[in-house]
C-alpha cells in the first residue's frame, strides 16, 4: 500500500496493525484488550467509525488480533 498519500481507510488499517504489533507480544488476551483500549482512548470518533465500516466490509488487511479488538470495540 502507498503510505505516502494516506488515503483512508488504508492509513487507518496501517495504524491499527501497528498498534497490534506492539501488543501482540503480550499474548492473545492482553493484546486484544490492549489494542481495543488504545483505539478507544486515542482515536477520534470519525476514525473509529471508518474502521468499523471497514470491519463490516470484511476487514481486509487487518491482522487477526486487531480485527478481534476492533470487533470487540464496536459492540
Amino acid at each position: 500500500m502507498d503510505t505516502h498519500t494516506s488515503t483512508s481507510p488504508d492509513r487507518l488499517i496501517y495504524m491499527a496493525n501497528q498498534i497490534g504489533d506492539f501488543f501482540n507480544s503480550q499474548g492473545h488476551d492482553h493484546a486484544v484488550a490492549g489494542i481495543a483500549e488504545h483505539i478507544k482512548k486515542f482515536w477520534d470518533p470519525r476514525m473509529r467509525k471508518k474502521i468499523f465500516e471497514h470491519l463490516d466490509a470484511g476487514g481486509a488487511g487487518l491482522k487477526p488480533n486487531v480485527l478481534e479488538a476492533i470487533a470487540s470495540l464496536k459492540k
Binding site: 505516502h4 483512508s8 506492539f22 488504545h38 482515536w43 477520534d44 476514525m47
Partner: protein, 969 residues
C-alpha cells in the same frame, strides 16, 4: 525598577555540610568547609578587592589584589585561594595591605587606556571599581615604555596618548563575532574568560598565549573569535571585568538602567535571564545565577539571538483575505476577530461541530496554551486540539505514563552533578540543549563515564577533555533492538537490581519481561546484523551502566521520532527500573525537550484526549469539574491529532484550523500532504510573529507577541515552572492570551481574565499537580517543579522518590519491529534529521538574527565514501530523493556520518527537508518518523522544480495590499 544586582562571592559555593568558623575583621563567621576566605568575607558583607576572581569559576590567584593577613601566618595570602578554617583570624584591610593593593593596581593601570568616559564598560567596569576601592590616586609610570595600549602608528587614541609610536604589542580590536567585540588593548590578562570557556562552557576555545608581557587571550591558535572553536555562549563576555569583551549592543546603546528576571524562549532547558533594559529597549540578556536550570550560564541563542523581535519582517497588524491567492488586507483587531469568527461559525454550520480545531504553541506560555485549549474544548465544543509535541515528544508522554505513571522526566538538571554513568540516546545536547550540555560536560570532566547511542559521532562523543567510554553507532530505526539487547546483557549476566525491583516494581511483570529480553534472539550478537552495533561494545556498555554507580539516561528526538518511538521510551524506562536507577539524585530518565514550553503545553491539556494534568477526557468526574468551572458541557470523545487533522481535511471533514505559534507546514513531515490538507481547508488562522510557511495557506493572520512583551510562565524539561516577565509593550498591541480572548469573544465564548496570573489560578484550581502554583509563590521562591501541591508545597525536584506515581513500576515487553521505511536499490541510503547550535527549530526566530553567520543554509552531511561513489564533492549541489519527494541542497562531507547514513537540518524553509520525510509514524502517538527516511542522492545543478514553484507560491502569498486611500468627497 532598577537593575537586578547579583552578588559576586568571588569563588564558587562549597557543597560541604561541615561548617567551619573563623574571624574576619573582628566578626565571627561560619561557612561550609572548603569556602574561600574571600567568599566567607562576602557572605558577611565585606568585599575584598579582587580582579581575577568571580564565583562562576574556580579561584586562580593571579591578580594579587585580594591579599589578606592571617594572624600567625607569614606573608599576605590571596583570599581567593586560601580556604577558611576553624579559628583563623583574618584582617582584610590595614596599611600594609592597602599599600600592596595600591601598588598592584598602579601597575595594572599603567598598561590600560584611560578613555573611561567614552569606554563601553563605563558604569560596569570592575577595574575602575577596584581602582576606586584601593584609593588609587596616581600612576607614576607613563606610556613611554612598553605597553599594549596604542596602535603602531596613526592618530592618537585619546588625550592621554603620547606621540604615536611603533608598538608591536598593540593588537587591533576583533569584531568578527556578530554579538561582541574583543579589544586586546583593554585586557588585564586575568584569564577569567579563558576559565569561563573551560569550566563553565567546556569548549576550551580560549587560551592565554605567550608568557609574561607577551601574554594574550587567544581564541584558538590566535584566530579571530569567529574563526575559532568559540560557540559564542557569552560566558567569557560575562566574566570579563573590563571592556575587553563587550556586547556590541552595549557599545551601541549604553549601559542598561533596569532589568527583570525572565525565562528564555528557546529550547527546553529553560535558562533564566536578566533582561537588561534602557526604557523599553532591550540592551542585553544576561544569564541569572539563581536560575536553577542554567546556574548562570547561557548559549548563543538565549544570550544573543533576540534580534528577531525587532526584525523588519515581523508582522504587527492583523490581516485577512478571502482566498490564499489574494494579497493580505491589513485590518483592525476587531475586524480580524469578527472575520475569523464568522468563518469558523460558518464552517461548523456547514460541516458540523467537529469540523474545526486548533494547535497550541509550545513556544507560548502555559497561560496562553491553557486558554487556546479552553477555547477549543469549551468554545468550539470539540476536542480537536493538539500541539507540536505531537511531532517531537508525544511518545515520551505515552511511554513514561505507561511505565512510571507520569508524562515527564524524573529529575532536575542539578541531578547530573551526582551521576556516575551518563547514557545519551538519540540526543545531541551540545547543539540542541547547550546549557545542559555544559553542565553535563563539567560532570564528565570530573570523572563520570559516558555512553552514547547515536548513528552519528556527535560532538559529545569526543571533544575537549571528554571521550565517551562507549559509542554505539546504530543504524537509524533500530533503537528498540539496541535497548532490548542492553537489557538482555543486564538480565542474563545477573546485573539487574533485584532489591529495587522487588520493592518498587511489579515482580511478575518483571519476570515476564526478563524472560522476554533473555531470549537468545535479543542478544547483542543476534541483533548486530540489524543494528550494526559491535556486540562487544554493547555488552561493555550494558555492564558499565548496570554497575558503574548512579546511572542516568538522557534522550532526545532520536528516540521519539520513530515508528517505535513509544516502544523505545518504554525500553528506556525498563532499563532504568531494571538497574534501580530511579528515585534519587543522579539517576533517572530525562527527556531533553525541544521547545521552551513543550512540557508546559502538554501539561496544559493540549492533547486531544486529555484535559490539563493528563486526565483522559472520557473520565466523567474530571470532566465535570471543568464543566462546572467553565459553565459548558464538554465533549467526552477524543479529538483529532495533527496528522489525523490533515487526513480529515483532505477527506473534507475538517475545514478550519487555528494555529498558534507553530509552523506546521515547515515542521511536519511530507510537506506535499500538508499543503494538500491546508489548501483543502476553508479557513486557516495563523497566530505568529512572522508570515511563516503555514501562513502561505492562511486566511487570517493574528500577529503575535514575543516573550519579552508578555507575562506568563514556561515549564522546562525538568517540570520547572518559571516566570516570563513583560519588559516592553507588545509591538502588535496585544499579548497572545489577549488575542485568543478576543477571538473567543467574537465566537461568543467570552473568557474574562485581567492578567495571566488569574489564568494560572484557574489552572491551579483544576489541576492537582499544579494546585500549589501561583504567581505569588513564584515571586517568592523563583520557580517550582510540579507536582506542586499540599504534599509538596515547594515542588518536586525528583520524582518517584518513595514509589512510582502509578504505584508499582510497570515493565512492558518491547518487541523490535523494523520500520516499513526501508532502503532498497532505488533508495539505498538512510536520511536522519536534526538541528545545530546556532539555529532553532524551523529557524523562524534564529534565521532573523545574526546567528546566520554560523549556519546560512541547511547542508546534507554524508560520508566521503558515499560521496565519492556518486561523484559528489564538498559544497556541490545534490539532489535528495525519497519515496515522498525530492529537494536539493549542498553537500558537506564528514566522517562523523557512518557510510550509508546521511543527515540534514530543517532550519531553512528553502531546503524543504520535509518534502523528503514520510508519513510513517509512531504506533502509539502518530509522532512522525523524521529520523528514518530511505533516500538516494545524486549531483544536481540547483534547486528542484518543486522548490522553485514553492518559492513562487510563497512570494505571491506573502503580498500585503497597500492601504486604499479614500478619495475626498
Amino acid at each position: 525598577m532598577s537593575l537586578v544586582h547579583e552578588i559576586d562571592f568571588g569563588t564558587p559555593r562549597s557543597k560541604s555540610e561541615k561548617m567551619v568558623t573563623l574571624t574576619i575583621d573582628g566578626q565571627s563567621v561560619s561557612v561550609p568547609e572548603g569556602t574561600s576566605i574571600m567568599r566567607a568575607a562576602m557572605e558577611m558583607g565585606t568585599q575584598i578587592p579582587k580582579l581575577c576572581a568571580t564565583d562562576m569559576v574556580d579561584a586562580f590567584g593571579s591578580c594579587r589584589l585580594c591579599l589578606v593577613e592571617i594572624e600567625g601566618r607569614a606573608g599576605t595570602p590571596a583570599s581567593c585561594t586560601t580556604p577558611a578554617m576553624d579559628g583563623l583570624v583574618v584582617h582584610t584591610q590595614n596599611a600594609r595591605l592597602a599599600a600592596l593593593r595600591k601598588g598592584v593596581m598602579e601597575l595594572y593601570i599603567s598598561d590600560h587606556p584611560l578613555d573611561c568616559l567614552t569606554c563601553a564598560a563605563n558604569g560596569d567596569c570592575e577595574l575602575q571599581d577596584m581602582a576606586g576601592a584601593v584609593g588609587l590616586r596616581d600612576v607614576r609610570y607613563g606610556y613611554d615604555g612598553e605597553n599594549h595600549v596604542f596602535a603602531k602608528s596613526g592618530p592618537k587614541h585619546n588625550h592621554n596618548s603620547p606621540e604615536a609610536c611603533e608598538n608591536d604589542h598593540w593588537m587591533a580590536k576583533d569584531e568578527s563575532n556578530p554579538y561582541f567585540t574583543y579589544d586586546p588593548s583593554k585586557c588585564i590578562v586575568c584569564s577569567r574568560c579563558v576559565r569561563a570557556c573551560e569550566e563553565v562552557q567546556g569548549t576550551f576555545a580560549l587560551t592565554i598565549s605567550g608568557r609574561g608581557f607577551e601574554s594574550r587571550v587567544s581564541p584558538g591558535m590566535s584566530e579571530s573569535f569567529l574563526d575559532s572553536e568559540c560557540v559564542s555562549c557569552g560566558a567569557c563576555v560575562q566574566a570579563c571585568p573590563t571592556a575587553t569583551l563587550t556586547e556590541k549592543a552595549v557599545i551601541e546603546i549604553g549601559q542598561p538602567e533596569h532589568s527583570a528576571v525572565t525565562t528564555c524562549a528557546y529550547c527546553g532547558v529553560g535558562c533564566t535571564f536578566k533582561a537588561e533594559m534602557r526604557g523599553e529597549e532591550l540592551v542585553r540578556m544576561v544569564p541569572y545565577k539563581d536560575g536553577k536550570a542554567n546556574r548562570g550560564h547561557s548559549c548563543v541563542k538565549g544570550r544573543f539571538a533576540w534580534g528577531y523581535a525587532n526584525h523588519k519582517e515581523r508582522i504587527l497588524n492583523p490581516m485577512i483575505r478571502e482566498k490564499i491567492t489574494d494579497p493580505w488586507q491589513e485590518v483592525s483587531w476587531d475586524e480580524a476577530f469578527n472575520f475569523a469568527a464568522k468563518k469558523f461559525k460558518g464552517i461548523q454550520a456547514k460541516h458540523g461541530r467537529d469540523s474545526i480545531g486548533g494547535i497550541t504553541s509550545s513556544r507560548c506560555t502555559n497561560e496562553e496554551v491553557f486558554v487556546v485549549q479552553k477555547l477549543i474544548r469549551a468554545g468550539f465544543g470539540n476536542n480537536n486540539v493538539d500541539t507540536c509535541a505531537r511531532v517531537c515528544h508525544s511518545p515520551t508522554g505515552y511511554g513514561l505514563s505507561s511505565t512510571f505513571g507520569t508524562s515527564a522526566g524524573t529529575q532536575d538538571f542539578d541531578s547530573v552533578e551526582d551521576t556516575d554513568v551518563v547514557m545519551i540516546i538519540g540526543a545531541n545536547p551540545t547543539d540542541g540543549h547547550p546549557v545542559f550540555a555544559s553542565r553535563l560536560k563539567k560532570r564528565l570532566r570530573a570523572g563520570a563515564k559516558l555512553i552514547v547511542v547515536d548513528p552519528r559521532q556527535t560532538d559529545i562523543v569526543r571533544s575537549a577533555h571528554i571521550e565517551a567510554q562507549h559509542h554505539l553507532p546504530l543504524m537509524p530505526g533500530t533503537n528498540v533492538a539496541v535497548l532490548t539487547a542492553l537489557a538482555h546483557v543486564i538480565v542474563t549476566e545477573g546485573l539487574a537490581d533485584e532489591t529495587f525491583i522487588r520493592e518498587r516494581c511489579d515482580w511478575s511483570e518483571f519476570e515476564d519481561w526478563a524472560a522476554f529480553v533473555a531470549q537468545p534472539n535479543h542478544s547483542p550478537e543476534a541483533t548486530a546484523i540489524m543494528t550494526g552495533v559491535d556486540p562487544k561494545e554493547l555488552r561493555a556498555a550494558a555492564r558499565l551502566f548496570a554497575t558503574g554507580g548512579n546511572g542516568a539516561i538522557y534522550y532526545g528526538l532520536g528516540v521519539t521520532e520513530h515508528s517505535q518511538g513509544s516502544t523505545t521510551v518504554i525500553a528506556i524506562a525498563n532499563l532504568a527500573m531494571a538497574t534501580g536507577n530511579i528515585g534519587r539524585p543522579g539517576v533517572g530518565v530525562n527527556p531533553l525537550r525541544g521547545q521552551n514550553n513543550v512540557q508546559g503545553s502538554c501539561d496544559m491539556g493540549s492533547f486531544p484526549h486529555e484535559l490539563p494534568g493528563y486526565r483522559h477526557i472520557s473520565g466523567d468526574a474530571v470532566r465535570e469539574q471543568f464543566e462546572a468551572m467553565w459553565n459548558v458541557k464538554l465533549n467526552s470523545e477524543p479529538g483529532l491529532r495533527i496528522p489525523n487533522m490533515f487526513d480529515a481535511a483532505t477527506e473534507g471533514t475538517f475545514m478550519g484550523l487555528y494555529v498558534q505559534g507553530e509552523d506546521i507546514l515547515q515542521s511536519d513531515p511530507n510537506t506535499k500532504h500538508v499543503v494538500a490538507a491546508l489548501s483543502a481547508m476553508e479557513c486557516v488562522i495563523v497566530h505568529d510573529l512572522f508570515l511563516n510557511e503555514t501562513a502561505n495557506y492562511a486566511h487570517v493572520f493574528f500577529p503575535g507577541s514575543t516573550f519579552l512583551e508578555k507575562n506568563g510562565t514556561f515549564t522546562n524539561a525538568e517540570r520547572r515552572i518559571q516566570r516570563v516577565r513583560k519588559v516592553m509593550s507588545p509591538k502588535n498591541g496585544l499579548e497572545d492570551w489577549e488575542v485568543t480572548l478576543g477571538f473567543a469573544k467574537a465566537l461568543g465564548y467570552e473568557m474574562s481574565y485581567n492578567h495571566p496570573s488569574e489564568i494560572m489560578d484557574e489552572i491551579a484550581a483544576l489541576t492537582p499537580t499544579f494546585a500549589g502554583v501561583s504567581y505569588a509563590k513564584l515571586e517568592e521562591v523563583g520557580s517550582v517543579q510540579w507536582p506542586c501541591n499540599e504534599k509538596q508545597p515547594l515542588g518536586t525536584p525528583i520524582m518517584h522518590m518513595d514509589g512510582f506515581v502509578r504505584g508499582k513500576g510497570k515493565f512492558m515487553l518491547t518487541e523490535y519491529i523494523a520500520t516499513d521505511e526501508r532502503t532498497g536499490p532505488r533508495f539505498p541510503l538512510l536520511l536522519t534529521t536534526g538541528r545545530i547550535l546556532s539555529q532553532y527549530n524551523v529557524g523562524a526566530q534564529t534565521r532573523r538574527t545574526e546567528n546566520v553567520v554560523w549556519h546560512e543554509e541547511d547542508r546534507l552531511e554524508l560520508h566521503p565514501h558515499d560521496a565519492e561513489l556518486r561523484g559528489i564533492r564538498d559544497g556541490d549541489w545534490v539532489r535528495l530523493q525519497s519515496r515522498a519527494g525530492e529537494t536539493t541542497l549542498r553537500a558537506l562531507l564528514t566522517e562523523r556520518m557512518a557510510p550509508g547514513v546521511v543527515y540534514t537540518t530543517f532550519h531553512h524553509p528553502t531546503t524543504q527537508a520535509n518534502v523528503i520525510t514520510t508519513e510513517f509514524s509512531d504506533w502509539a502517538t502518530n509522532c512522525p518518523e523524521y529520523k528514518v527516511t530511505a533516500v538516494q542522492i545524486s549531483p544536481s545543478n540547483g534547486p528542484s522544480e518543486w522548490q522553485k514553484e514553492y518559492d513562487e507560491q510563497a512570494r505571491q502569498s506573502r503580498r500585503i495590499a497597500m492601504p486604499v486611500v479614500e478619495a475626498a468627497e
